[in-house]
Symmetry: C2
Subunit: 631 residues, 2 copies
């Protein structure tokens, strides 16, 4: 235990929950990394779609980002209200479930869970991908690097929310600071030079742009740009992780995240036409990320350039942390409602939902291993879950606002309504434009996941109905218990079991299976070694039953006998007493037949209602003391 | 079960043992294949060693085979006597153990077991190797073919000794018949033509023979030729598998095997100089086995040639069957003495020692997989175990003959003594000549295996000493049992456990762990729903204990409480009653915490001497009937 304390930190008492909570500053690094890191790939994704336009693409940067920001602001207001209305957390799921019914809730939850899992795999592999393209020697270690980062994130989150938040604060604020410096200097230069400043390092020339800007192309660019919005729901899922006053802290955090994100997105959007920056073909030898081109154009290739790039890379990797903060909380809430195994609701030694963290690690680790650490293919699937959750959550808020009889909030409802429609349309756009690239998979996986969750809930309901008692428990006057002791040899193990049988019951059957390999006559042994002792202690005479086993089976004759006794005595409980030799080291168990364990299991699983199993252990090499205590 | 009946045959009662035994004719195919198949590779192995001599090598065929046959006859007489002296089987081990002490016995047993394992791997891969060199398309499937044959052998042997014997009789007698025809025709032609008949197909020309026949070379050739003798001990290990009168049937079988083997070896030995047959380089493109060259020389390349070759190939593959007949029997005997787990002594549904068969399959299968189905490398290790067993067994027989006071048999002792010295010398020759090629491995593996066997025996002795009772069992007047029931919710599962507690004891502690996720007040529930029922039924009031668990642990507070009660009451037994919800399908168990199972296991393994575990199962969806029976 001391070792675990050292690795994971001492166990935290439930009372210490308050100390484990985070304020807005740490909250940004716990819940904001997913959203903020989007600034690094959202604009780039949109520009890449527009590459076919050549130099003309830069003109669309500001309008597309503008559209994205409008949706973002709508979503922001919606979640701000969600936080106040549902401070117990698990935003989209709770809102959808309470206002639109369980099916909508489960869909929102499933969408979020899938999204979080993808986010971990994609975030880590994107970060590692950037690192590997900077240092090609590491190419062969891609998967290993991915899994190491995954392990680090898992470890930090198992240590607790606060520790993870504190650990990831430095990279978060370094990233924000660096990008802010780049954007500010860039915008100042652009203004000073009257719109077209001279870049320090020339951006790559625009390719031949033969295409024309069709609506379809612009929609695709918008859909791609929308990936910048994923992660905005994160705070609403984790309200309970914040310091009191909960709602204020959570709202402040959300506001800060959104303000910073909009600043970054808009800043980049204006720098793109100013410096005539076009995307380069991903995967081609002269590929360079948009942020790298911008930074070089504004600041040149000095040391600061490398600091900026390192901070971006780090934050992209760590953006997976948001999933680790939220996935277990969402699981916890839906498990509380019976849609996932109850064990997701149990908090571990550091007050985090251990099982959720572990499951997320296993799922995303499997994705990483399956795709060898290269998860580009998964990017299309990415924003779909988020936008489905946005839509359901805002639609739920509309109903919520109109339900409250005294204080019906029509303005709020209208905001949410517009938000729901906007994100709904965006959801359809993303789904349609990315359908061929893999979004169809979501159409299969999401309902399957929902079906599983409904199945779990149905099973729980059935079980709890079966074992429920309405009113007081019904107890009867005890009948005599019939004890059946299985004894193969009269040794200490059997002696202890026999003594136990006399302590539990007055009607005792001693069961012995005649084995072909036996070298002693049990009946004779019993007569000479057991009967006098029984009479001497004034105990009731047990009934000795010798079972022949022509087919050398041991378990089934015992079972047959027990079921027979159970049938004969319709009112008595039957206690099957099983002496069990327990070795100190597991590997010694190969030397003993495992009949005792096997018999216990079969009696348990094929059980009849009045048969109970009494295991009487005889622990080898630890008995000297105990035995002397007794006699 | 009907499916198993169909696959493995109906279970055989222990009384049917007699019907499962074999007579000499089937005995040859059960125990003789290993020895007889040696005729196919023994002479070849010797000739291959002599290849360096060129055409001169043929002259040594008859003297070397003569030497091998002399040893073979000595060994034959020794085992003939062993069969009579130890009709319980497991020849070499029993003889060595009873007469030379346990260490010699264990060494002989270990040598035999290693030898049998190698025999399976080498036999199968030699047969498949020959098949593959005839049909090169199968090359890529070598391992698969090996494993299929292994599976077939395992399956036949699991079906019973008699069925395996009957199944393998046709190939055995086809092989003997074919070789007899070839040898007889060859010898007649040789005699008729005055010593040097004209071969129908010319044998390959002898290579340039620069070497001279040194003693070292001849010793190596002799050692190689001795591989023809492995398998001769087989009958003595399996005497119990024969029809009554055991000893006669076993002796007849052994005599027939040895007579046929000597006929084949001597016949081949004379054909070699008559037709000037030299070995070809194994692995070279013009490689051909000696028996193939002989058959072609005598009968040409007609259809019968292919029949002969097919029968050889088949018998080499099936020679592994001898190991399957003997390995489990040897294991059974030494397990009976405590040197291997006792489970090796249990006979399965078809009266065979299932565990021995399965272990042999796993060991030899692992060898095949590890070497990819090509086990030539193992051939050097092959005869060493056999000759060690021969030597120990014959040395044991010498002591045995001199021990019997009334009928001391000096002639017999002398035969055995000469045999022991001869096989002992052969053992040393084989070990020394093959040391570099891999025999050194046996020097490591064999003692390691022996150490393991001694360790097992030591552990069994220790355990049986610890649990043994000398004289009558000691029983005392029963003290009151203290029942501790663990109840988290007042449902049917808990109700059944509570009822059980009242039936087993009058002193009851109800244990409840306060969990943070609990949504009900247990104390209140208990007061309203349990207490009135208890009073109503006139039952003793249990002590309700609420355990707080600030660190959210469930098992350890229960354990602490149980150990505490055990300490406080130094004379009473403590029954921990664990209600357990049992699902019908295993996969539903993921939906429930496994605390009941975990608590049972920990109580069992960390057990104190006066704590017993009572599992009260509640089997879901099978209760309606039972419940109505009770109330």
């Amino acid at each position: 235990m001391a070792f675990l304390d050292y690795i994971l930190g001492r166990p935290l008492s439930s009372d210490e929950d308050k100390d484990e909570r985070v304020g807005p500053l740490a909250g940004i690094s716990v819940f904001g990394l997913d959203a903020l890191s989007s600034a690094a790939y959202g604009p780039e994704a949109a520009l890449t779609v527009l590459m076919g336009l050549g130099a003309a693409s830069v003109a669309y940067s500001v309008p597309i980002t503008g559209a994205v920001c409008v949706i973002l602001i709508l979503v922001y207001f919606s979640y701000r209200q969600t936080i106040a209305a549902y401070p117990q957390g698990a935003g989209s799921y709770t809102v959808a479930r309470e206002n639109l019914g369980p099916t909508a809730g489960v869909f929102a939850a499933a969408a979020l869970l899938i999204d979080y899992t993808l986010n971990v795999a994609v975030g880590i592999s994107a970060g590692v991908g950037a690192l590997v393209s900077a240092f090609p020697v590491l190419q062969s270690q891609t998967l290993l690097l991915c899994l190491c980062i995954l392990a680090l994130l898992t470890y930090m989150n198992l240590r607790g929310v606060r520790e993870a938040g504190l650990a990831f604060m430095p990279p978060t604020y370094l990233f924000i600071g660096c990008l802010a410096v780049v954007i500010c200097i860039g915008l100042v230069r652009a203004t000073v030079s009257g719109g077209h400043p001279a870049p320090i390092v020339m951006p790559p020339a625009a390719p031949q742009g033969g295409e024309r800007a069709s609506w379809w192309l612009l929609l695709k660019a918008f859909a791609a740009g929308c990936t910048a919005m994923t992660g905005v729901e994160a705070v609403s899922n984790g309200v309970q992780a914040f310091k009191e006053p909960l709602v204020n802290a959570a709202r402040q955090t959300l506001t800060m995240i959104v303000v910073i994100l909009i600043f970054l997105l808009v800043g980049i959007a204006f720098l793109i036409p100013a410096y005539n920056i076009v995307a380069t073909q991903p995967g081609s030898p002269n590929y360079q990320s948009v942020l790298s081109i911008i930074t070089q154009a504004i600041l040149g290739r000095g040391p600061f350039y490398y600091v900026v790039l390192a901070s971006i890379l780090l934050v992209v990797c760590l953006s997976a942390n948001t999933s680790f903060a939220d996935f277990p909380r969402v699981c916890r809430t839906i498990a509380g409602d019976g849609y996932l195994p109850y064990s997701f609701t149990v908090r571990g030694r550091r007050l985090v939902y251990t099982e959720g963290i572990v499951v997320l690690t296993v799922l995303s680790g499997s994705l990483l291993i399956f795709f060898g650490g290269v998860t580009d293919k998964l990017i299309p699937l990415f924003a779909i879950g988020a936008f489905l959750a946005f839509t359901l959550s805002q639609a739920g808020m509309v109903v919520h606002r109109l339900k409250a009889k005294e204080s019906r909030d029509f303005l709020g409802a209208a905001t949410n309504g517009i938000g729901a429609i906007a994100t709904g349309i965006t959801f359809v756009i993303v789904l349609v434009t990315k359908f061929h690239e893999g979004a169809w998979l979501v159409v299969i996986v999401l309902p399957a996941f929902c079906l599983m969750m409904f199945g779990i809930r149905r099973h729980y309901t059935k079980v709890s109905k079966e074992i429920a008692i309405s009113g007081p428990v019904s107890l009867t006057k005890p009948h005599q218990v019939i004890a059946i002791v299985v004894i193969q040899n009269l040794n200490s193990v059997a002696q202890k079991a026999l003594q136990m049988a006399f302590e539990l019951s007055k009607t005792i059957h001693v069961l012995h299976i005649q084995e072909e390999s036996a070298d002693r006559d049990f009946v004779k042994d019993w007569k000479t070694d057991a009967e006098p002792s029984i009479r001497g202690a004034g105990l009731p005479e047990p009934q000795v039953v010798i079972l022949k086993s022509p087919y050398r089976k041991v378990i089934s004759p015992i079972l047959d006998y027990v079921w027979g006794v159970e049938k004969e005595h319709p009112y008595n409980s039957i206690a099957v007493i099983i002496p069990q030799l327990i070795e100190k080291h597991w590997y010694y168990n190969f030397l003993h037949n495992q009949r005792a364990a096997l018999l216990s299991s079969i009696l348990l699983f094929k059980g009849k209602s009045r048969v109970v199993i009494v295991n009487v252990p005889w622990n080898l090499r630890s008995h000297e003391k105990d035995r002397s205590m007794r006699t």
